[in-house]
């Protein structure tokens, strides 16, 4: 549904995003995660056809954002950081206007507005003036505006920012409910937000993709402590293969004296056997620890470490 390759955007001498590559399949909900100023909004603006990229290509719903922006815009619903609502308008009139701008034929407009109002829980305020609504409701009106023409792709820039906890949960539920019918990209700098709604996350920092993976993989890898680190004095090939032969060990990545040991999460406790084998092989165990990283730490790690830690499995099937 969305194919991005080599996407780069320069603002004068400053590089906003650099060489982004990713694909998003139909019906997926993908989260863009990154600190403020990482390039999330820039990427989204390019995907909506709001502004062109400096280099690289992006295809949305089969159309190139540069060559056929109008076709792209027909298939995209976009909620910018500040909802683009006219404060003096009545909710229903505003949505009707948005529907008109998005080619919804006259005969279907009323139903489209009605359905957008219902899906975003605006029914009881649809006759009110947007300027008199609370921030949470304005955000919903912005979301309804993105939904009103029933687009294939929804691009939501920080959809829950500035909302109270109850509203946040409501908006998240709403977004989750869109899975399957729409392809959704949402951006956030808050981790729980992404874990709560998205199937896959793309972590961006300083304009580069530092990781993209399914939530399941990242959490199972990181959150449940299924990676052990062993530091040894003399790492030998035979020692490593001995460790590998223990059932339950999925992979071992040696980095000098440090061994990163990935474990099958369904296996019983095997830590003592790992240490035993290492001692038998005379590798000289210096340190042994389990990685207990929450995604929050991973995120911090991914976005503070400069080098690109790419664990790309973008085509991986969602569990």
């Amino acid at each position: 549904m969305i194919e991005v390759s080599g996407l780069t955007k320069l603002y004068g001498p400053r590089t906003a995003i650099q060489d982004l590559n990713f694909t998003i399949k139909e019906g997926e909900i993908v989260g863009f995660l990154g600190p403020n100023g990482a390039g999330k909004s820039t990427t989204m603006k390019i995907l909506t056809g709001f502004m062109p990229a400096s280099f690289g290509t992006a295809k949305v719903a089969g159309f190139d954002v540069f060559d056929s922006p109008i076709d792209v815009k027909k298939n995209v619903g976009y909620l910018p950081e500040t909802p683009p609502v006219y404060l003096e308008m009545v909710v229903a009139d505003y949505l009707d206007y948005a529907a008109r701008l998005h080619d919804v034929p006259k005969a279907k407009r009323k139903a489209a507005v009605q359905s957008a109002v219902e899906r975003t829980g605006l029914s009881h305020v649809s006759k009110r003036i947007i300027g008199n609504l609370s921030k949470g409701y304005r955000q919903r009106v912005g979301l309804a505006q993105a939904l009103v023409h029933d687009p294939k792709v929804l691009i939501l820039d920080e959809p829950t920012v500035g909302l109270d906890p109850v509203q946040i949960i409501e908006i998240r539920e709403l977004i989750k409910g869109l899975a399957g019918q729409h392809t959704v990209i949402l951006s956030s700098h808050i981790l729980p937000e992404v874990t709560a709604t998205c199937q896959r996350i793309i972590v961006i920092n300083k304009g580069k993709i530092v990781a993209q993976d399914t939530i399941e993989r990242l959490t199972s890898r990181m959150n449940q402590g299924l990676v052990y680190h062993m530091e040894v004095k003399n790492p030998s090939a035979s020692g490593i293969s001995a460790l590998k032969s223990i059932s339950g060990v999925k992979a071992i990545t040696p980095e000098g004296p440090k061994l990163m040991i990935e474990i099958d999460p369904n296996q019983a406790e095997i830590r003592d056997r790992l240490v035993e084998a290492a001692v038998q092989e005379k590798m000289g165990v210096l340190e042994f620890s389990a990685e207990k990283l929450s995604l929050e730490d991973v995120f911090l790690q991914l976005t503070t470490v400069d080098q690109t830690v790419d664990q790309t499995t973008p085509q991986e099937k969602n569990v």
């Binding site: 909506t48 709001f50 815009k73 976009y78 500040t82 006219y86 948005a98 008109r100 701008l101």
Partner: protein, 259 residues
């Protein structure tokens, strides 16, 4: 295809026109306009009556016609008032949308920049049209109590509408250049006045440049209209002026995407 295009231009134009009436802008501008116009009309009319009486008293014939005595000065004055008021109407068109970032709705909707510009232009022009429509009461009064020429009234309205179109065109353009409504308004007024007075320089410039400056003066082209003369060169001038300002607006908005 063209039908849906018109639909979107119309959608934008109607929404913006409604916005004028959802805020005090339209009411204040219309009230101010009609107050000043009423004052002008009353003073012109009184002056005309006094003149007529003097002519009769001294047996100097019929004196000036209604067209010369009332209609020409009235619509001439109207153009000055519009020069002041149109910038107040047009200044918010794009500047406000840029400031509040609602322009993102337009920029990410499947509409062309041309449709956007046309919609905004028509919205402001329609409001000016409503203002002009309300002044029809003055010729109506003249028709009830006198027998004015229909031709000059018609061409005065047409000329005024075209001249206002030029102000609106410049207003749309300056509004697209800034987020600040005041800046847009002041620039529009200054540019309008500049194009109004530009022929003052013509007598000091050379023959060719002088002619060019004369031609560029937007008020120079109104003279024929005020006398009831419909000259295609004037109509073409006004349409070109509007066309160029809208084209420049298009370029400005297009470049905005590239920044």
């Amino acid at each position: 295809m063209s039908k849906t295009c018109n639909g979107k231009v119309w959608a934008i134009a109607c929404r913006d026109l409604k916005t004028y009436f959802a805020s005090p802008i339209a009411y204040i501008v219309i009230a101010g306009f009609l107050t000043l116009m009423g004052l002008m009309f009353f003073s012109n009319l009184s002056h005309f009556f006094v003149q007529q009486l003097q002519y009769k008293q001294f047996g100097m014939g019929k004196g000036v016609s209604l067209t010369e005595g009332i209609i020409r000065p009235l619509y001439g004055n109207m153009n000055v008032i519009l020069l002041l008021l149109v910038p107040l109407i047009t200044m918010r068109l794009f500047a406000e949308e840029k400031k509040l970032q609602t322009i993102q709705l337009l920029m990410t909707a499947p509409i062309t920049i041309g449709q956007m510009v046309m919609g905004k232009f028509l919205a402001a022009l329609m409001l000016v049209g409503i203002m002009l429509g309300l002044t029809l009461v003055y010729p109506l009064i003249l028709f009830i109590y006198g027998n004015p020429d229909l031709g000059p009234i018609f061409t005065s309205y047409l000329g005024t509408l075209l001249l206002s179109g030029c102000y609106v065109g410049m207003g749309v353009m300056f509004s697209s250049m800034t987020e600040n409504q005041i800046v847009a308004g002041v620039l529009t007024f200054a540019a309008g006045l500049l194009f109004w007075l530009i022929n003052w320089l013509s007598q000091f410039a050379g023959a060719v440049i002088g002619d060019v400056l004369d031609y560029l003066s937007i008020i120079q082209h109104y003279n024929n209209f005020s006398q009831g003369i419909l000259d295609s060169t004037d109509v073409i001038f006004y349409f070109s002026f509007i066309g160029i300002s809208l084209f420049l607006t298009h370029r400005v908005l297009d470049s905005y995407r590239w920044r």
